[in-house]
Amino acid sequence: MRKILVANRGEIALRIMRTARKMGIQTVAVYSDVDRHAPHVKFADEAVHIGPAPSSESYLVMDKIIQAAKDTGAEGIHPGYGFLSENGEFAQKVTRSDITFIGPRPHAIEVMGNKLAAKEAVKAYDIPMVPGVDKAISDVTLAQKIADEIGYPILIKAAAGGGGKGMRIVDQSASLKEQMERAISEAQSAFGDGSVFIEKYVGSPRHIEIQVLADTHGNVVYLFERECSVQRRHQKVVEEAPSAVLTPEIRKNMGEAAVRVAEACDYVGAGTVEFLLDENKNFYFLEMNTRLQVEHPVSELITGIDLVEQQIKVARGEKLSFTQEDLKIQGHALEIRVYAEDPMEDFLPSIGTLSTYKRPEGEGIRLDDGFEEGMEVPIYYDPMIAKLITYGASRDEAIQKMISAIDNYHIEGIETTLSFGKYVCQHPAFISGDFDTHFVKKYWSKEIYDEGLKAEKQIAARIALHHYLESQKKVVVANTLESNWKTNRS
């Protein structure tokens, strides 16, 4: 493979191209009307315009992207994450066009893309699952019976779901009927598929996932875990590797279970198996993401392995050059997702021009970003503008490095989640490692945050006033001198 097209934008497009270039592979970018100035377009060896800003008319149009690959002679397509990365039909079309899809086979994408099909596929592989049903259910009486058996609270989930949509927690049998009907209608409108199923609701879960890597020769390894419990709107904001709570024994059990999940769907390439860990450290299979994850850099830093490079090598048919025994965890890595959102206003989008954009630099700091000073953050795409990653010999070192990196990362013009990231890094629950997916709900509010900054604000007010009054003094002195001059001359 001498040339690949990256069917994505922003930081991930740039990150993939960097590795491709390092490997001596030519890169092709695709871009919409609003992305002409984006760094991924400027970095690539070739760039193809694929349409207007809305992704449904550009980055999501399979035929345009495949045509762009044909026109430029790209031999492979890397989908990144989001957009078409977990679309089995796209993988199929790419393959049929005699272009290599850098990712798993269409079959694995389809099986793991549906939660019920995924449960069915891993059934025979001895994977711990959350108690519940593994079939779509619409009969309320049957649902009542099952819910009584597994015990409340229960969780109703959409089979085709993701990102927390179509999920409902039910505390008691009286509200089951109503909640089920709502979940079905929500799933129908969000995913065009109204199938829902029932699971036991795990009370204070941690979200821990295992990175796996498989080649086309039957070798599968795991690159340990990532802890992604700090979330807002069921989406991750802070991730780290390794987790502060896994023992070597649980890590091994989870890793081996993840490898079996990958084997269950004949997985090829880099993938992630997500688990829930309950307060007694029992783990349950949640789902498999059949692509490169946003948070993959933390695994790269603790293992020293470039996952994009591995994806490309696997796509070329190469054998993995290392075994499970060769892999060791070294140090600790932490990632903050920098979203163009206002943490003080319920994490609502914040759009604008990056009037100031100064990157933090230093040893142990990695910044995967796709913006430059003066650029506008477009309204059409995901709000994530960058990922700030730090690495240290210990967890504490990585956290301290993150705090100073955030202090040296200057973004003005939009609100971002950096302030939230710093708050997390300084929070006793996060520092101690004792936190779960309810971190935001339990510990974050504008009031608590403001309280913590009260003293700093007092200082800022006084320093600013002092500075202002001093500057006024200077003006007065200057005026006096000028008038003296005039007096002397006359």
């Binding site: 914040s350 759009i351 309204i379 700093e456 800022a460 006084r462 006033l465 006024q472």
Partner: protein, 159 residues
């Protein structure tokens, strides 16, 4: 030095500062607009990054604060401005976030009840449905479908 009472707004938080308390602040100037401050035995590193008259940006321990200074005169002008602003009807509908208008669920002259859907707004893959805060009659709609709006922009005017 003008003495007296100032209202200093630090990133949306109003703080009253009297000039004679300024001297009590244990701050030493380190040149280049930087200061080392000790308050309650805690150390703060402050730096004035940008100053345009009464608008300043101040970094304290790595956090950036936008500061606006108002003297007695400014405070009086502002108080008068507020009086005028309060004449604007409070139930006008403003955009809760910047975004694109996906759909408008009401039309001028229409009476809506509390919690009725008014406008669907979308930004960065996130959708936000604006509900009526109370009962009212739509006077005019300032946007059309497909328009981009800023946060706080008035999108629907009520009778």
């Amino acid at each position: 030095m003008p003495m007296g009472h100032y209202l200093v707004t630090v990133s949306d938080t109003p703080i009253e500062v009297n000039t004679d308390t300024l001297d009590q602040l244990d701050a030493i100037s380190q040149g280049n607009n930087s200061y080392h401050v000790i308050a309650d035995q805690k150390a703060y590193r402050a730096k004035v990054l940008d100053a345009k008259g009464k608008q300043l940006s101040v970094n304290v321990n790595g956090n950036l604060y936008e500061v606006t200074i108002a003297d007695a005169n400014d405070q009086m002008v502002k108080a008068m401005g507020l009086l005028e602003a309060s004449a604007q009807k409070i139930n006008d509908v403003q955009a809760p976030m910047p975004g694109l208008i996906v759909s408008i669920k009401v039309s001028p002259g229409q009476t809506n009840a509390k919690d009725d859907k008014l406008i669907e707004l979308s930004a960065m893959k996130m959708e936000n449905l604006n509900h009526a805060a109370g009962e009212g009659v739509v006077k005019s709609i300032h946007v059309k479908e497909g328009d981009a709006v800023d946060k706080g922009q008035v999108i629907i005017e009520m009778e």
